[in-house]
């Protein structure tokens, strides 16, 4: 799919195939195109080119009924804060055609799942940020969608609430719910997602399971150490073992394939570099993310 806003190409030929029951993570920096992609899938916007299907049925802005199969957890707390938790859920449930006892049962179930049953009659504005986020999630699940779209649903949430949200989402996924989870938190993607797509500048840069993604890193380990008088002799000697990139106050060493790290440490010992100055990093999603998307600040 391609989506442009004036002269800006927000999505540039993105193509994805997500399996039923998958927990798919969409990872990207600010402005990468995550929210645009989510909004296209949710039917909030129409792509300039391309199509989407859900279980073979086309998804589009015009096909309102197909949206019953989707649930969206927006980035912000999209709730009526003057109304109670129960009133909010009644409104959002009714929009999906739920009525009467069935709606009541779903509300009971959803509030229990997000641990807000005892606060059902309280206005949302009296809830903490974490409670609001949990209710935000519950509102998207009342109608039991096939596909849940979570657009950075844990922004500004305390660790306890975040953990509760993760547990809940993992349980739902185990029960068969397909989830597309947009985030820029590596630990969230690492913990939750069975497959991850890294997106930047409107393009999918990498796509696969965590192991598949890490294998794409052109290095396995990385050692950084400060650029000081103590380490001045070491850096020039490392070229035989790997690549060194140096900035004014930091050296970054990445070994060639087949190089044993013991060779590096032996060389460091020869140059009397104390081990405490050496920071050894294993390959991580964040390293891959930064490798693919760069270190330039994003607005």
């Amino acid at each position: 799919m391609t989506k442009r806003f004036g002269g800006l190409t927000a999505l540039d030929g993105v193509s994805l195939d997500i399996a039923r029951g998958e927990f798919f993570g969409l990872l990207g920096p600010n402005g990468a195109g995550k929210s645009t992609l989510m909004s296209l899938i949710a039917g909030l916007r129409a792509p300039d080119s391309g199509t989407m299907t859900l279980d073979g049925a086309p998804l589009s802005v015009a096909k309102v009924d197909t949206r019953k199969a989707l649930g969206l957890v927006p980035q912000s707390v999209a709730l009526y804060e003057e109304l109670s938790a129960e009133q909010n859920l009644k409104i959002f449930g009714a929009l999906y055609g739920l009525r009467g006892a069935a709606l009541g049962a779903r509300i009971d179930e959803a509030l229990a799942a997000v641990q807000l049953a005892d606060r059902r009659h309280d206005p949302v504005k009296q809830f903490s940020g974490g409670m609001q986020r949990r209710l935000n999630l519950a509102a998207a699940l009342l109608h039991r969608p096939k596909l849940l779209l979570c657009d950075e649903p844990t922004v500004g949430v305390d660790p306890q609430s975040r953990n509760a949200i993760f547990d809940f989402l993992e349980r739902l996924n185990r029960e068969g719910l397909t989830v597309i989870y947009s985030t820029h938190y590596m630990e969230e993607a690492t913990r939750l997602c069975s497959r991850i797509g890294i997106i930047d500048h409107g393009k999918i840069l990498a796509f696969g399971t965590l192991d598949e993604l890490l294998a794409q890193l052109p290095f396995e380990d990385e050692i950084t150490f400060p650029a000081t008088e103590v380490t001045a002799g070491l850096a020039p000697r490392l070229a035989a073992l790997g690549s060194v990139s140096s900035s004014r106050d930091l050296h970054r060493f990445r070994p060639h394939a087949g190089t044993r790290m013991s060779e590096f440490y032996a060389l460091a010992e020869q140059h009397a570099v104390p081990p405490r100055l050496l920071a050894h990093e294993r390959p991580t999603l964040e390293a891959l993310f930064l490798h693919l998307t760069g270190r330039t600040l994003r607005d």
């Binding site: 909030l44 309102v64 949206r67 019953k68 969206l72 009526y80 959002f92 929009l95």
Partner: protein, 451 residues
């Protein structure tokens, strides 16, 4: 001191960036100052009301009656209607029945009948009849004052004629002619002057009674007793005032006032309701709604229906408060009142949505709404009769929702009109609603509210 100045600079920067506050601080008061300035005639050569349509029925063949008509025509407050509309260049003159029908039909609110027997035969003096629909008391009092001024400025001549006519009846025409000739000769011999001219003045009743030109107070009612004022003319000029519309209204003052204030606050309420769109966008509720089986049209029309319902409930509640506090009769014509309230609510809601569709933020929408609502209330007749304003502003008033809502309330509560009679007014409000909503929806579909 530097800290103090830095903080002041911060306040200035914030103030200048807040267009809503800027609008309320400067634009709204300037607009209201202008409107009130026009009402009170500041910088206007011709202060006072203008353009009030006045039906004039001249049944008298007396030349003095024509002079009275000319005096009324010269009064800048009035625009005379003397012939039936739409009857072409040879339109027949109005009859009293025509004038009453025009007033009942709310096409105009005042009329003067100059009867065939303008000059009384049974006594010395003249008689006139004023028809009125005093739905706005301030306007009615002012119009009556202006009418009396015009009439009394013409009356001395009429009184003289009345005296002569009365004398002719008493002593006979030939004797009266000889009397006038003898009197003119006597005056000429004693004081000098042109005998023929003096005789003509005596025969035409010109006795120099202009010192009597002092307006008398009037009173309304359907009786035909002379005006009970202390003016020297009170006993000589019989003004019959007939209230054509609203005789049955028990609390006329409250009936007139409640609608105007109710409309103004309705406009504020529905504008605020429409501005809530911005909050829903900001909180992501639009995203959630549009990700559900909900179309943009559902969101827009649900807000329109809510605004209309709010209008009905708010206006009804305020009129009910008027009934409780001042005895305004809202149940006498309740269902038609409800129809007008729905039409006014719908039109006001559409205006609120139009404002939101053209503004980028909630604060901007509130600022524009404050300006539009106050200006429209002032111009549309919610605060004072529009006849107090210059004619171009009176014409502008007809483009406002407040004007047509006030017309509707007046028709229902003051004139007790039927559903069929209020249909044109309701139709105008419905037309405004349709037109404004069409523009608003066009703007919403092109704007960024749902992005």
């Amino acid at each position: 001191m530097r800290i103090l100045l830095t903080l002041v600079r911060k306040d200035c920067a914030n103030f200048l960036r807040d267009k809503a506050t800027l609008s309320i601080t400067f634009l709204v008061p300037i607009a209201l100052i202008y409107i009130f300035g026009q009402v009170f005639g500041i910088n206007r050569k011709d202060s006072g009301p203008s353009g009030i349509q006045l039906a004039v029925v001249n049944e008298s063949r007396d030349p003095a009656a024509q002079k009275l008509v000319e005096a009324l025509a010269a009064e800048k407050a009035f625009r005379l209607v003397t012939t039936r509309a739409g009857a072409g260049p040879a339109a027949p003159p109005l009859t009293e029945q025509d004038a009453q029908a025009l007033i009942l039909d709310n096409q105009l609110r005042f009329g003067v009948i100059i009867p065939r027997d303008l000059i009384r035969e049974d006594a010395i003096g003249v008689r006139l009849k004023i028809l009125s629909n005093p739905r706005n008391e301030i306007e009615a009092q002012m119009v009556h004052g202006l009418l009396q001024k015009a009439i009394y400025s013409s009356v001395p001549e009429l009184l003289g004629r009345s005296l002569i006519e009365r004398a002719r009846q008493s002593v006979g025409g030939a004797r009266m002619d000889r009397f006038a000739e003898a009197l003119a000769t006597s005056i000429t011999n004693t004081f000098g002057g042109d005998r023929d001219a003096i005789q003509r003045r005596i025969e035409s009743g010109d006795f120099g009674l202009s010192f009597l030109q002092r307006p008398a107070a009037t009173r309304t009612g359907t009786n035909s007793e002379p005006s009970g004022s202390t003016s020297p003319l009170a006993g000589l000029v019989g003004i019959e005032t007939q209230q054509v519309v609203g005789q049955q209204v028990k609390r006329p003052e409250a009936t007139r006032v409640v609608g105007g204030w109710a409309m103004m606050f309705l406009l504020f309420a529905v504008s605020g309701s429409a501005a809530a769109f911005f909050d829903e966008k900001k909180t992501g509720i639009f995203q959630r709604l549009l990700a559900a089986p909900v179309r943009r049209a559902h969101i827009l029309w649900s807000r329109f229906l809510f605004g209309t319902l709010l209008g009905l409930v708010q206006l009804t509640a305020l009129f009910f408060a008027g009934r409780v506090m001042y005895g305004v009769d809202i149940f006498g014509n309740f269902w038609n009142l409800a129809v007008v309230c729905i039409a006014a609510g719908a039109a006001s809601t559409s205006l609120g949505m139009l404002i939101v569709s053209f503004t980028p933020t909630s604060a901007a929408a509130q600022g524009v709404a404050t300006f539009v609502v106050l200006t429209m209330s002032a111009c549309g007749g919610a605060w004072f009769p529009i006849s107090f304003m210059p004619e171009f502003m009176q014409q502008f008033a007809k483009f406002t929702i407040v004007y047509w809502a006030m017309e509707g309330f007046s028709q229902v509560l003051w004139a007790g009109q039927s559903f069929v009679q209020i249909l044109p007014t309701v139709g105008v409000l419905a037309g405004i609603t349709a037109g404004v909503m069409a523009i608003a929806i066009w703007r919403f579909n092109r704007g960024r509210l749902f992005e």
